[in-house]
Symmetry: C2
Subunit: 296 residues, 2 copies
């Protein structure tokens, strides 16, 4: 059998094709493709659909990079000995136009550093308006996926996700979480099976939400609220996100790294939702919550 | 005579009043005022004019904070012994609506840490459209101010500004620079006189540009270009800016720290100005240049 690094690379690349094909059917427009090479080793294939019918900005990145590990990054990665690294992964960020549809993010990656190898990844949802049923559907799909592999996974990775996607200077979360995991060492075949299952769960977790909300009506005020929350998304990605830092520090292609940024974002001075409004209700979603214990 | 820390605080506070009064006359609207206290010592007065006639977002912050120095910050500040700190300063960021008017930033500060004390600050311009005469006026005003104190100041602080306001992951500058200085130790009375002169130069350096451009016509395409460049402004402020980091790490008021962020910012995927366009010409402004050697 082929080495796991080659199979991971092939799987991530095939997953990119599959996700893009489905999203193109939903949107009615094609992704633009950009192949890029990394000075120092490897490269990637970025696919972006900008100003589509459904998606304001949708990015699906695949990459496989390797070489000497940059020193700044070496201190950050907590596992493995120094020297060469290899990293392959896929990253998805979808920002639809309609503020009733959440933004979604998924990332799966396989890394080698010296003698160590591990998987990392996750999926998380960033709604604008508070549809509890959507959040529960998303978390239920992830829990079912996790439970097929290890009953400890969902609670552990759900908490990790809540912790990770916290905007610390605001004391609020980027969205409603999902699952997040990193440095999964050990039986790599078992872990790879888990990661494949998670990647396969992306469309079933998100697509039903997208399809049932994408044609809802909305007004200027709702669009503005979406842009305010997208400002928070930018704050998180530029100040805290490891993937963004990894991309910039390994001198990945800047435009591929920043495909995660929304097309538009707003910063009102001292924005506060009106008491009793749906926007205020939405705000309560951005604190950790046990979604599966909720009544719809 | 009063201690320099008290005089610096009074001067910065009076400068805030003076700048705001002038800007209110230009805009026809009043600044909103927010007093805030810092847990751990001190506080500030934030003044913001949001959605005015001329200014889309204008922020003028004054603060005086003190207390035990946060550990994360202690490593970053290169001067002085550990222990207590005192910092007072003023910070101005003006984002006008009209894309023909540059965004401008000024910041002046006095810091004490243990036995050391120093001044820092600067002024810099971020135009959208390439009006060479405006940039030269701005730099000439700063050079004349510097030259009254020390002929070495302008070349030294101009270069420091070009280096500091570089968006490293893009290899481009945030704007066209100005002057920037930090850790000015030594004869504090002389340095204070210089900083006062710089602060007094803010209005003469910027106001003539604002007044002659604020009523120029512009179209959607120009507005969009402005939002693209404002995206770059956000990238710089959230990834590299020391003032932003200082504010977040000393647990200053988040909304006061982020008054520098534009009301709206855009991230097109792989934006490139059209060959031969004014936007492409603008782009050439975002590399260091000896503006005073230019012909108008």
């Amino acid at each position: 059998m082929k080495a796991i690094k080659d199979r991971a690379k092939e799987f991530f690349s095939a997953t990119q094709d599959k996700i893009c094909k489905t999203l193109e059917e939903v949107d009615g427009n094609k992704f633009r493709e950009d192949m890029w090479e990394r000075e120092g080793g490897g490269g990637g294939l970025t696919r972006v659909l900008f100003h589509g019918n459904v998606f304001e900005k949708a990015g699906v990145n695949f990459s496989a990079v390797y070489g000497v590990i940059p020193e700044s990054l070496s201190k950050r990665i907590e596992v493995g000995t120094d020297g060469q690294f290899f990293a392959t992964g896929i990253s998805v960020v979808l920002h639809p136009y309609n503020p009733m549809v959440p933004t979604v993010h998924a990332n799966f990656r396989y890394l080698e550093r010296g003698d160590s190898a591990w998987f990392g990844g996750g999926l998380d949802l960033t709604p604008y308006y508070p549809y509890k049923a959507d959040v529960i559907h998303f978390h239920k799909t992830l829990k079912a996926t996790c439970d097929r592999h290890d009953p400890s996974y969902y609670p552990r990775f759900k908490k990790w996700c809540d912790d990770y996607f916290t905007i610390r200077h605001r004391n609020e979360m980027r969205g409603v979480g999902g699952i997040f995991f990193d440095y999964l060492l050990g039986d790599l075949e078992k872990l790879f099976a888990f990661v494949q299952d998670c990647a396969e769960a992306f469309l079933p977790a998100y697509l039903p939400i997208l399809l049932r909300r994408k044609d809802e009506t909305y007004d200027e005020r709702m669009r503005h609220f979406q842009l305010i929350r997208r400002g928070r998304y930018v704050e998180f990605n530029l100040i805290y996100d490891r993937g963004t830092m990894f991309g910039l520090e390994t001198k990945g292609r800047t435009e591929s790294v920043f495909m995660s940024l929304p097309a538009l974002a707003a910063w009102d001075y001292d924005y506060k939702p009106e008491p009793g409004s749906r926007e205020e209700e939405a705000w309560s979603f951005f604190q950790p919550r046990d979604w599966l214990a909720e009544e719809i």
